[in-house]
């Protein structure tokens, strides 16, 4: 911000001043009193923003959200809360079980290799499949978000980065488990996915259209989204099998 009287202030300084967020409001006030040019710009800005406020107030007929709407909203929300609660419970149980499953599978396969891993316990394998299926579904949603992001202007990918960061940790765990379980195809896709997740989580939260294009090209050129979808479908199908064995899903 201009620190001395006689130096014109920028429009951005005026905006901050208008909202009471200027670092040196007294200095700015003095300058606006003394400088006709800046004073006129200040008047114009204040007028524009006052008009916006007036119009917003005039249009402030926010639609009714009374008791009836509230009740309808609750009726819509309640089943979703129940489902969210169930999923949270399942996740709390599944993550440690998935780790346990990976250890059991690794141990079993290690002991009996190269024999077919028929001894793998169906219950633990199923838990691993459910966890991996869930992981692939969340990864797919993230990839879709990135592929569909508007390429015309800088994009904020803050929330995608947080998801990528969470998925990354889980992906490493699942990759180790499926590698031990002898699922090279699945492990390879998870590894590819991890590389992309690392790239997403390490970028600045706002990326340029060019950077976004690079990410999209990476996803599209290797058919990563397609692979994730196919694997997710295969994993889900595998879950439906009545007597789970240790057959490959890839």
């Amino acid at each position: 911000m201009s620190a001395r009287l006689g130096t014109h202030v920028t429009d951005d300084d005026l905006v901050l001043h208008y909202y009471g967020e200027s670092e040196r409001p007294a200095l700015l006030d003095a300058h606006l009193d003394a400088c006709a040019a800046c004073g006129a710009r200040w008047q114009e800005l204040s007028q524009v923003l006052a008009v916006v406020t007036d119009e917003a107030m005039r249009e402030a007929r926010t639609p009714e959200f009374g008791d009836r709407e509230m009740d309808a909203a609750w009726q819509r929300l309640a089943p979703r809360l129940a489902s969210a609660r169930q999923r949270a419970r399942l996740r709390r149980v599944m993550v440690p079980l998935a780790v346990a499953a990976s250890l059991v599978l690794a141990f079993t396969i290690g002991r009996h290799w190269p024999a077919a891993p028929e001894v793998a316990p169906g219950g633990t394998e199923r838990v691993l499949l459910v966890a991996v299926g869930d992981h692939l579904e969340r990864s797919e949603m993230l990839l879709v978000e990135l592929v569909n992001a508007s390429p015309d202007q800088p994009v904020d990918i803050g929330s995608e980065q947080r998801q990528a960061h969470e998925l990354l940790g889980a992906s490493r765990l699942y990759r180790a488990a499926v590698t031990r379980a002898g699922e090279p195809g699945l492990a390879s896709v998870l590894e590819e996915l991890e590389r992309l997740l690392v790239e997403v989580s390490h970028r600045p939260s706002e990326i340029s259209p060019d950077e976004l294009a690079v990410l999209r090209r990476r996803i599209e050129s290797r058919g990563l989204l397609f692979k994730v979808r196919v694997l997710e479908w295969q994993v889900r199908e595998k879950q439906k099998e009545p007597a789970p064995g240790a057959a490959a899903v890839s």
Partner: protein
């Protein structure tokens, strides 16, 4: 009962396995969330969707909510973030379904010729110009501006609510104001001349 205490009790009940207690929180804060969402999205259906998503997100993250914090402020930030996400999703859908040169520009629907001073002073024309300027804002600019100008949140609070760096939030407000000034400069000068 104090507001904060009522919230804390409801939160404790939900955490203790009584999801129906979440309705208390919805009844206490639903209207404020709806009002914020409507201001940010400008659309009634979107506002209702934001109410759903905000409360669902709050429910899912209740374990991360610190008991000492204000539930209302926490939820308000979630709602701002949900509205922003919705605006971004809307922009992406538009970008996919409409070619760049077909992006709706409300200015294009202005009747031929510059509107005279009398028309510019007319409320409808001003409103139309504001809407046009808002429609040209990115999701981030619109969100940041609404939160700063209409909701009175500081730049730091906006950054926190939208998970941004402070500078990004600030620049978004600047860009939004520039667009409004571009749309309303003529009107503002006319009004100032009339005052003088």
């Amino acid at each position: 009962m104090q507001d904060a205490e009522a919230d804390a009790q409801a939160v404790a009940r939900v955490r203790a396995g009584e999801p129906e207690a979440f309705r208390v929180l919805m009844e206490r804060h639903g209207r404020a969330v709806h009002r914020l969402a409507f201001r940010m999205t400008g659309n009634e259906q979107d506002a209702e969707d934001v109410v759903q998503e905000s409360f669902l997100r709050a429910f899912r993250n209740l374990d991360h909510f610190e008991a000492r914090a204000q539930f209302g402020s926490w939820l308000y930030r979630i709602a701002a973030n949900c509205s922003y996400d919705l605006l971004r999703a809307r922009a992406r859908r538009l970008a996919r379904t409409e070619p760049a040169d077909a992006t709706p520009d409300l200015d294009a629907s202005v009747p031929t010729g510059d509107p005279g001073p009398d028309r510019l002073l007319a409320g409808a024309e001003v409103r139309r110009r504001i809407r046009a300027a808002m429609s040209r804002m990115s999701a981030l600019e619109r969100s940041a501006f609404t939160l700063r100008h209409l909701e009175g949140m500081s730049i730091a609070e906006i950054a926190q609510a939208l998970d941004l760096q402070g500078e990004a939030a600030k620049q978004s407000v600047f860009r939004a104001v520039r667009k409004l000034r571009g749309a309303l400069a003529e009107h503002a000068q006319g009004a100032l001349r009339a005052k003088a």
